[in-house]
Symmetry: C2
Subunit: 233 residues, 2 copies
DNA sequence: TGTGACATATAAGTCTGACTTTTTGATCGC
DNA sequence: GCGATCAAAAAGTCAGACTTATATGTCACA
C-alpha cells in the first residue's frame, strides 16, 4: 500500500515519523542530527532532509546549538496525510480514528448537500453505481467488495461537492473505512439501514435535493459516530 | 507577521512556494535542482532541502533523470498551513477564501455543538468575554478591536470542541477573518445581527445547549457564505 | 550576593566536490 | 517495425571542512 519511502531519507522518515507520532519521544525531547545519522547509518545530508520534512509537518523544531526538539502534539500538522497514516498505524490509532470520524460527521453532510447542487451527470451515474454495488455486496460476507464500493461512494460525494478541500479528504475517509473493515473486527454483514441510506443519498443527489442529501448523510455519519461510542447522552 | 524563513532553505521556500501555488509553474513543469540552486544562489544541499519540503507538501515530485515536476493542484496538501498562507497571499486568494469559508461552514457549527458539551468553566468565561468585547467594539469603526475578539471567540469554540483537528483550524479561521477586515474593504461597522448571534452562541454553550449552539453558529457561517456570494438560489 | 559582560563549547547550518544510481531515450541489429 | 543494448542526464548519496548562532558557564564588579 504505502509506497516504501522513496530514497534513503524516505526510509528514515518511515521509522522516525511513526516513532514521534506514537509519542516515543515526549514533547521537548532533543535529538541530534549527527547521532540520528549514525543511528540510521546515513549521511548527515540525508538526515538533514528527513529532519526538514518532519519540521515542515511541525513534528519537530530545529534550532542551533540545541538540536532537534520534538513539538507538543497540539502543534502537529494533523491534516498531513502522512501524519494521519503514521498515527493510524501506531499507538495513537484510537484517538486519530475518533477525531477523523467526528471530522467526517461535520464535512460529509455538507459535502453531500453541495454535491446535490454541483454533481455532473457522470458523477450521479457513478454514485448510483456505487450504491448498487454496496447493495449487491451487502449480504454473504462480501466485506471486501462492499468496502470498495463504500469507499468509492464517499469519494464521489466529496469530489462532486466542488470544494477542493473536501475532495482532498477522500484518501482519509478511505483509510477510516478500510480500517473499520480490516482492523476493527467486522464479523457481520453491514447494517442494512446504512446500505439503504446510501442508496437514498444517491437518489437525493441525482434529484438535486440538497437538504435531503445533507440530512440523509448526517444519518450515515451518526451511525459512524455510534460505532465508536461517540454520542450525546 | 510570518517569520522570515528560518535558514537559507526557508528563504528559498518563501519565494518558490508562493510561485508554485500561484500557478506560475503549470502542472507538469520540470525544474532542475542545480538550476534552481544557481538561480537562488545557494548550494545544492540547501536547494535539496527546500525541494524536500515542497515534496512533503505534494506541490512537486522529484524523480531521477527527469527532475522536479510540479504536481497538479488537485494533489496538493491543501490543509498545510504554509500552503494556505501562500495561496491566500497570491493569485489563488479568492478561491482559497471561498473553499475555506465553506470548510468553516461545515466545521464550526459542529464544533460549537461539541463545545456546548465539553467546554470548561474557564472556556465559557472566556467565550462570554470575547462576545462582550465584540459588542463593545461593534460601533464607531473600531474594526481592529472587533477583529481581535472575533478571532478569539472562534478560537475558543474550536478549542473547546475537544477535537484536536478542529482546534488546529484556529489559525486558518483567524487568517480568514483578518483577511475580511484587512484585504476585503470593510467600510461599515459589523452586522449587528452577527454580533447578537455571537452573544447567543456564548450563552448556549454556557447553558450546555448543543443543538442551539450548533444552530446559531450555522447562522453565523451562513452569513459568511453570503458575504462571498456562496448561496443556493 | 546578585548582575552584567565576556568567553567557550556545541550543534545546526552551509558549501564544495566527487561519486553512484536510476531512468529515459536513442541507437543498432534483427 | 521491434526488441535489446548503451549512453547521457539528473537526482541521490557521501565525506569533510568550514561558518554561525546561541546556550551556558565564568569572572569581575557592584
Amino acid at each position: 500500500m504505502s509506497t516504501t519511502g522513496r530514497g534513503l531519507h524516505g526510509q528514515v522518515l518511515e521509522t522516525l515519523g511513526p516513532a514521534i507520532t506514537a509519542g516515543e519521544y515526549p514533547p521537548g525531547s532533543v535529538l541530534r542530527t549527527d547521532e540520528l545519522a549514525q543511528r540510521f547509518d546515513v549521511s548527515r545530508s540525508v538526515m538533514r532532509e528527513a529532519v526538514r520534512v518532519l519540521e515542515s509537518m511541525h513534528l519537530v523544531e530545529s534550532r542551533r546549538r540545541v538540536g532537534v526538539t520534538v513539538r507538543p502534539k497540539a502543534e502537529w500538522n494533523v491534516y498531513d496525510p502522512q501524519v494521519i497514516r503514521w498515527r493510524l498505524a501506531g499507538a495513537d490509532r484510537p484517538q486519530q480514528l475518533r477525531s477523523l470520524t467526528v471530522l467526517r460527521s461535520a464535512i460529509e453532510p455538507v459535502a453531500a448537500g453541495l454535491a446535490a447542487k454541483h454533481a455532473t451527470a457522470d458523477q450521479c451515474a457513478e454514485l448510483t453505481e456505487c450504491a448498487l454495488g454496496m447493495v449487491a455486496h451487502s449480504r454473504g460476507h462480501q466485506l471486501e467488495g462492499y468496502l470498495v464500493h463504500d469507499v468509492a461512494f464517499h469519494r464521489v460525494i466529496l469530489n462532486a461537492s466542488g470544494n477542493e478541500m473536501f475532495a482532498r479528504l477522500g484518501d482519509v475517509v478511505a483509510e477510516v473505512l478500510a480500517g473499520r473493515t480490516h482492523h476493527e473486527v467486522m464479523f457481520e454483514d453491514p447494517d442494512p439501514a446504512a446500505v439503504t441510506l446510501h442508496v437514498q443519498v444517491a437518489e437525493a443527489v441525482r434529484a438535486g435535493d440538497a437538504v435531503r442529501a445533507e440530512h440523509l448523510t448526517r444519518e450515515i455519519t451518526v451511525g459512524a459516530l455510534q460505532e465508536l461510542d461517540i454520542l450525546a447522552p
